[in-house]
Symmetry: C2
Subunit: 557 residues, 2 copies
């Protein structure tokens, strides 16, 4: 027997309608590269989205067609966030930091018919044009700055198309399982893989962001996503913010140090969202420069584990709560959020920090397990490390047009994340490593994330990365790369770092002194994570081919 409730689909047009109807005056602020500010609001957004839908219709875009964006965070990108899926087409946000080869692969694999690009970025596409036969139009968005010489031709101007388009409002109806968005993983191994989000998954994920114990987006907040809009839908915040009627501040390309701090201050931002690298830089900057960030109460951190020192520093020095989350392109992305439970308010700060460095409790609708090599469940004790597998209505069930990548999905409906993690008794998940980054030493695992966290406790260490180097036949040794803070560069001693690590790790786990290496910078991936694949190229020996076959012979100490 079925219930007798209305069959109302959860679709993105409803999010826009809600923002328009109940919060028309709430602001959408964009800052351009020249630091000028543009102000609009949800009422204006609605009118422009209606017009942009007609632009897309005029371009012949049909339901299911892919429309690509190649842009920073700004109001026109937000217009596309709504207009494309509201038409039943698929918004494909492309990571502008990818290599030329990856871009070529992605545009062709997605068969994008149109690319909406920032004028300042379009030069990156010019040379690619002959290799992108499916692309019919290049539409340039940013009105600022000089005309670059090497644009793809023919190109058309966004605002000219908008002026020419009708303002007749017509929202088609469709099922909630209709595709809405497409995003490719920026994995460092193999070809990028596409994840195709639905209206239902996007809407549910947006609601989840407004729940008190997740991102707590509400009408009274002002959100600034530093995380790019090409990076898993800016973690869903543009949709959550519109649903709640929150003010949105888009920073454009300038997201480091002074320009970021000034924007946070001027727009009285309350919640900002980005990767650890950004907040680490901001913290350094704020230690030396005075800004009134009294309205800023929460920094959400994802993309990589937030070091304990970052959480401590912001809390102590600025009274700002750093909240970690975990997610992936394949999980829309938010899967866990690390908030303290009420009983922990009586704990000591040290005890609380041990929880805050974890990636947190799975969010509503999300299921997690950790599996050993034989696909058996491991206990939730905070110690057993296994592969994290997940399930939920905003988790991918397959990659887009990529049957060869099916191994990531179990037969009984779970996604293998490739992350090695623990779950503790209270349900907090902690990432130990990417599966391929975990270091096997004498048959036991060493978490590179743990070791990096410990190294960062040293006041002179700004960034740290640990990778394994082959040692004997079945074993690896940890190698620690570190970058020093300017003012401490001369005072950091390798022995001090090893001694610090020795407080947490057994002697046989510690790196040898020659494996603790001071470097001027660490290589980063296109989404700002430390690029361990690139770091491994700095190692003396290539990985041993026999390595994966000899677990049976290795012995734990």
């Amino acid at each position: 027997m079925n219930g007798l409730m209305m069959d109302c689909p959860l679709v993105i047009p409803s999010i826009l309608k809600r923002a328009t109807r109940y919060f028309p005056e709430k602001e959408i602020v964009s800052r351009y590269e020249d630091e000028s500010i543009h102000r609009s609001n949800y009422g204006q957004l609605h009118a422009r989205v209606v017009r942009l839908m007609n632009v897309l219709r005029d371009l012949g875009i049909k339901p299911g067609d892919r429309v690509a964006t190649f842009a920073w965070n700004h109001r026109r990108h937000l217009e596309l966030y709504f207009a494309v899926p509201c038409l039943g087409a698929v918004l494909h946000t492309v990571n502008l930091r990818l290599h030329r080869e990856q871009l070529r692969y992605i545009f062709n694999h997605a068969q994008d018919r149109v690319i909406f690009a920032d004028r300042s970025l379009a030069g990156l596409l010019a040379g690619l044009k002959p290799e992108l036969p499916a692309v019919e139009r290049y539409i340039l968005m940013d009105e600022r700055g000089p005309e670059p010489a090497d644009l793809p031709t023919p190109w058309v101007d966004y605002e000219q198309l908008m002026e020419a388009a009708s303002d007749r409002e017509e929202f088609p109806k469709f099922d909630e399982n209709t595709a809405a968005g497409l995003c490719y993983t920026s994995g460092t191994t193999g070809e990028p893989k596409g994840v195709l989000y639905s209206h239902r998954s996007t809407y549910l994920h947006a609601i989840c962001g407004c729940m008190v114990d997740t991102s707590a987006v509400s009408e009274r907040e002002t959100l600034l996503p530093v995380v790019p809009m090409f990076h898993v839908n800016a973690w869903g915040l543009p949709y959550s913010s519109a649903l709640a009627g929150a003010t949105q501040v888009f920073p454009g390309p300038l997201v480091l140090d002074r320009p970021l701090a000034e924007l946070l201050e001027a727009e009285r931002v309350t919640i900002a969202v980005g990767i650890p690298l950004i907040w680490n830089r901001l913290y350094q900057y704020l230690k030396e420069n005075r800004h009134d960030l009294s309205r800023l109460h929460t920094l959400f951190v994802g993309g990589a584990a937030a070091p304990r020192t970052l959480i401590e520093g912001f809390a102590h020095d600025f009274g700002i709560n750093v909240v970690q989350g975990w997610g992936m392109t394949e999980t829309s992305p938010v899967g866990t959020v690390s908030r303290l439970k009420s009983a922990m308010s009586d704990w000591t700060e040290t005890e609380r920090l041990k929880v805050q460095v974890k990636q947190g409790v799975p969010v509503v609708t999300f299921e997690t397990r950790i599996l050993d090599e034989n696909e058996q469940d491991l206990p939730w004790d905070g110690h057993h490390v296994g592969e994290l597998v997940v399930q939920g209505p905003w988790v991918a069930s397959a990659y887009y047009e990529n049957p060869g990548a099916d191994a990531a999905f179990t037969k009984d409906g779970w996604f293998r994340t490739g992350d090695m993690a623990t779950m503790d008794e209270r349900g907090y998940m902690q990432i130990a490593d990417r599966k391929k980054d975990l270091i096997k030493r004498k048959g036991e695992w060493i978490s590179s994330v743990d070791m990096e966290n410990e190294a960062l406790v040293h006041p002179g260490v700004l960034e740290a990365a640990v990778v394994g180097r082959p040692d004997e036949a079945c074993d690896e040794l940890p190698v620690l790369f570190f970058v020093t803070r300017n003012e401490f560069a001369a005072t950091v001693e390798i022995e001090d770092i090893i001694a610090l690590l020795g407080r947490k790790f057994a002697r046989w786990q510690l790196p040898k002194p020659e494996d603790v290496r001071h470097v001027p910078t660490l290589p980063k991936t296109s989404v700002g994570k430390i690029d361990k694949k690139a770091l491994r190229l700095l190692l003396p020996c290539p990985p041993l081919k026999a390595q994966t076959t000899c677990n049976a012979h290795s012995q734990a100490p």
Copy 2:
């Protein structure tokens, strides 16, 4: 093209699983009629639900079967909230305050196979038994108190069945549109009508309750539903609380004055939920009796409009935020919540109160319109009064097994609420009246709710109700019934009340002095609303038959 997200249904078993897995130690507190306290937690709840599912299986309950409850708010009722729908059966919560005839009709219409009743209430069912042929078993729940003489026989004891049942855990899988709950309207006209909730509607409604701008249920809250669990699922709070891991406090039958205040204090309740009547009584009680309710920050009010005086009183005297919502059995129930928008924080208290007395902004997924008599949309200006029609994934699309009641649903998919309301420019809805309670005077509408609100401004007036009495052929006159506060009884002057009303209403709208009537009490419906149908019986003249046909002749002044 469909998205490639997992097909994970939104079902009630996931709510239980979440509470159990992440918040097993969070408490479920029940207070019995003898004021003794029982403490359990979500971990224990899970074990008991598994066992109760096996009890239901042993009784032969199959998916789709209706299982009735006839009980106050307590932990065993909560066990049924999960066990019945987790089995794929339908939880039918019956209003124990209904008349015998209505009970007979409802049990027979629903064809309940089993009734779970509180021992103290079972006597009400004893005489009905011969008239309920579909009911196979009566199961008595409350272990406290003496054995009443007139129980329905044969009956069985809840705990005996639990002891005999297996603890084998088996959760069947089903579609999210499967029926989960059944609740009958307690409308004062016609036969009660059943609303059949689905797992999807219940789950989405539960998530909505955890959003910051709705009920903001979170892990750190302690919730006390005064609203009965037989009244539209206690407004969904047991499910929202379990989803969030919030502490739940169930008050049993004692929800007035001292027992309520003591429970709020002892259990450090942070959010309590009920109808205006309850909070009005509590306010009076707290004015005269000292309790430490410093943890209580929010009282949610629904079921009837909260008077301005109640909102003001709690804010001024106790620092407690009274938040109104609006909903109906047909809307699961929450449809609107009245929270102030951030821009209103600069407003004067008087301006803010004008917003707070409204029923609020539609919640996520919820659509509203107000229609005139020709089904045309009226402007959202805060003045035009029309019938509120609504749409959303937790709104009924039909009544259960009742094709005769289809007129409540429009052909294009909206539910006619029967409430007359305004919507203002900011999207705040305000109920003017039930359609049948609105008073027509010289061709214009008078809102009885507005007039009651004004009368309650008089410090001597405790309760007020306005109904229309026929005057000339096409017109009605308002009649105001009021109850005085004890300490003011001697000092209330009819003229003063009329003068008060005169500040807001035109002279031709005011009641005549002989139509302002002091009464010792006001009649109430089974869910605690003022029973205007009963009040009309006190009026001198019967309604005129010709009344509805002569609108064309009447003139606005």
